[in-house]
Point group: C2
Chain length 490, copies 2
């Protein structure tokens, strides 16, 4: 490369990085759809490392195209635990966990549903990593794969579930489990994949547990304001005072930031590890803290309660900023400083692409919450994605391929064996299936639950309603399996 060209290229890269940074912290961000918050992994591990075996499947890059380049392959990671499995030709079930927008590395310790039910079902546990995350990246590193507009084109949900189809068939074959029924399990985005998989590949999975899967948060089936309105409601229910403090805080941040040296003041008052580059950096940090507290509002701590406790019980005489900071300290713990710089991870990079290509989840903020109003604007969203990737997203593709509109009318008499589980305090539950669609496409909800609790590791401290939710799900799945075995015999 000539020197000049190199400079231009580096400048371009810098521009892209800065731009990505801005976009990743824009108020239009779509909260991640991971089943759990990695920063708060349970100390209890679901799977014992010594029982796990890791494999790599030679996966086809493009299942739907038949040109030579589509025949390229990459190594896709999957992990098996056969400790409790009844063995080959036993017809014992396989539970397959579908990875979401993150490396698989800790899923098997965080997701308890498979391992904790394996003794009961004598089942094989299978965890599969999603393409373009973790070790399952075609075309080199994530950076390599994502900066090339051709290679990142293979990063789509339809390709991902076709990957899962091939691996499940491969594993059934490898373990001589031809007649073993397969139950697919996923949480959040992985839950969408699980339910879509049961609908698209009924010949491979006999049923699906789709935990906290907002499959209706597309194409305006769910109102764009629903997510943030539920976050706000969660806070209001815990403490009206807390809600009001947060509501007032945004203009207070603006007031200080617009003063001379205002950002320094805010940096000092929030003990940021590095100086704030903009007021948006702070606002996005707080926004993320509130939404993630609501989404992952798990017992026994209940993060929304933790945040509000900090805010409400701030030292007497605290001003609004002091109270909000106390909320941060309560949630994050006492620290010498707080890192508010958005970090670049595989998940942030991958999820930005997925939501800017096909997973167009319209999330905006109405003007009656504790957040600053920010109505959803599809045209603006498209513009942003175009600037990032040079391509318009396909906002109608998800509903074209998977459906979603009039779901009750469609699935009342089509399909079977799906559990849509939701915790009704989870803001993403607003895009979930909250009522039974048929006799075997069922909604299992908990009033006080949050995101994906049912599939996480069960703990002694779990409340009764969560224990019951899991029991209900196990009972339903046992029913599917009993029917399957009866059909198999006849």
């Amino acid at each position: 490369m000539k020197a000049f060209a190199r400079v231009i290229f580096q400048y371009y890269l810098l521009f892209v990085l800065v731009f990505l940074q801005n976009v990743s912290t824009s108020p239009h961000k779509i909260p991640r759809l991971s089943p759990y918050n990695k920063e708060e992994l349970s100390s209890v591990s679901a799977e014992d490392a010594k029982d796990l075996k890791t494999y790599y499947y030679r996966q086809t890059v493009d299942h739907f195209n038949l040109a030579p380049q589509s025949y390229a392959t990459f190594n896709q990671k999957y992990v098996v635990n056969s400790k409790h499995w009844a063995g080959p030709n036993s017809n014992s079930p396989i539970f397959a966990y579908f990875g979401a927008e993150a490396p698989l590395d800790v899923d098997f310790s965080a997701i308890g549903f498979l391992s904790q039910n394996a003794p009961r079902f004598k089942s094989l546990s299978l965890y599969i990593e999603h393409r373009f995350y973790g070790e399952s990246i075609p075309f080199g590193t994530m950076e390599d794969a994502m900066k090339n507009e051709t290679t990142r084109g293979y990063f789509s949900s339809a390709q991902a579930i076709a990957d899962y189809a091939e691996i499940v068939l491969h594993v059934k074959n490898k373990f001589s489990a031809h007649n073993s029924p397969v139950i697919v399990v996923g949480g959040s985005y992985g839950g969408m994949l699980a339910s879509w998989f049961r609908l698209k590949y009924p010949h491979i999975a006999v049923g699906a547990l789709a935990s906290s899967a907002p499959i209706l948060y597309f194409d305006n089936i769910t109102p764009p304001s629903a997510y943030y309105s539920l976050v706000a409601k969660d806070f209001k229910e815990v403490s009206h005072k807390c809600y009001e403090t947060i509501r007032k805080s945004w203009s207070e941040i603006d007031r200080i930031a617009s003063k001379n040296g205002g950002l320094s003041t805010l940096s000092r008052r929030f003990k940021t590890c590095s100086s704030l580059k903009s007021r948006e950096e702070l606002k996005n940090y707080l926004d993320g803290m509130y939404t993630s507290a609501a989404q992952y509002n798990a017992p026994p701590e209940y993060p929304v309660t933790v945040v509000c406790k900090g805010i409400d019980e701030a030292p007497r005489g605290s001003d609004v900023i002091g109270r909000i900071f106390a909320g941060v300290a309560s949630r994050r713990g006492k620290r010498s400083c707080y890192n508010m710089t958005a970090s670049r991870t595989q998940t942030s990079v991958g999820w930005r692409w997925q939501t800017c290509s096909e997973l167009v989840i319209p999330i905006g903020i109405a003007n009656d919450t504790m957040f600053e109003a920010d109505p959803y604007d599809l045209a603006e969203y498209i513009k942003g994605c175009k600037q990032l990737y040079g391509l318009s997203p396909r906002p109608h593709w998800i509903t074209t391929y998977y459906g979603g509109h009039d779901i009750k009318l469609v699935l009342k008499r089509f399909g079977s064996n799906i559990i849509f589980s939701n915790g009704l305090r989870d803001p993403y539950s607003t895009g979930g299936v909250l009522e039974d669609l048929s006799e075997s496409i069922l909604a299992v909800t908990t009033r006080n639950g949050s995101h994906c609790l049912d599939i996480l590791v069960a703990k002694d401290s779990d409340p009764e309603w969560l224990v019951m939710q899991r029991k209900t799900e196990v009972k339903i799945i046992e029913g599917w399996l009993a029917t399957y075995y009866a059909d198999l015999k006849s």
Copy 2:
């Protein structure tokens, strides 16, 4: 291009053409899966040309990939007849016919099911052309598109049904038919597409009529010998003598061909328009005549009967060759000469690609028929396709994506509203669904029927069993619609 390179390129093209010719006439050819035989179109036209309106939809080249080149578009043809439609917002149904491996140009005159039932259902009739056929070819002409290994990669069934999904949604929108139930109809390969569409896109089609769709002729679900064995059985049932004459003819052709000037003798005796280039040319012509007579063995003529009448009633003293020729003359009519050179059409070019990429239909010939034995050899088949296209076919992809194995176990409790219709004399019925899979996934068969008769134009001369078959199908569809409207109201 430099002169030398041009010569090499021309030589290469010549080689490819010669090779294609050989393959297209190899005994391992897969009989076309068109709903009707274009050479024998009924004189009655289903649709009145003046009622038809042709449109072109700007279709996405690649639905499953998100790279810039996938966003390329092409014009896809569809044709609408709204003469009998009850109009916008009437909730009257749409019947959508899915084109198969041929131009759409005469489908609307040959396919009667839509037009002839339109007055009864007050339905809109929609005919959609399959990508890469007729006028719906991305990237220029068929020749252009097929000689480029990248562009022909977009030629797959999953892309085709995604096209249909987009066009059906587009038409519903265009005609303000949001709540209109859609029934998809297809014959042969188009019937496979219709049944797969109902399974993959239940949110777009409320039901499917899949006529003569051998969805089980993949991955050895159906034994490879089934097709030819049924052709032979059809002939034997019509005339044992005819069957025996055909059985003996192959070695007789070999005996003459191996003599000095034998090919000239055969050319003269069969009155070929141009001299036979090989004995295979003749054998393939005869093979094609027998299989197509059996496949399209329609009333009132019944081509198998016509062929056998010629063979059996050949002038007294005719030898085997004379009798076979009399069969040809009886079937093709008296002519000054018979063209036995395989012709190159869009269908032959496209179907060869489709069967050499994903539609790997294993057809061989057992040693107990009237044909020369020719067991199916997948490895050899793969080798042939590799030589043609430089790529291995994907013989397991169809069953991975659409299923097929253990179909009763899978669909007994999944899905609804599909009619699999078959005429049991059609050799492709051996790969069809011949028994009910559930209460609404139904098999409608006729003992004496052949390929796709139910969806072709109804004629006064049609036998009672064919009239009844169509009535049964209409009744079933009326039931689906009644249920749909009841669900819509509630």
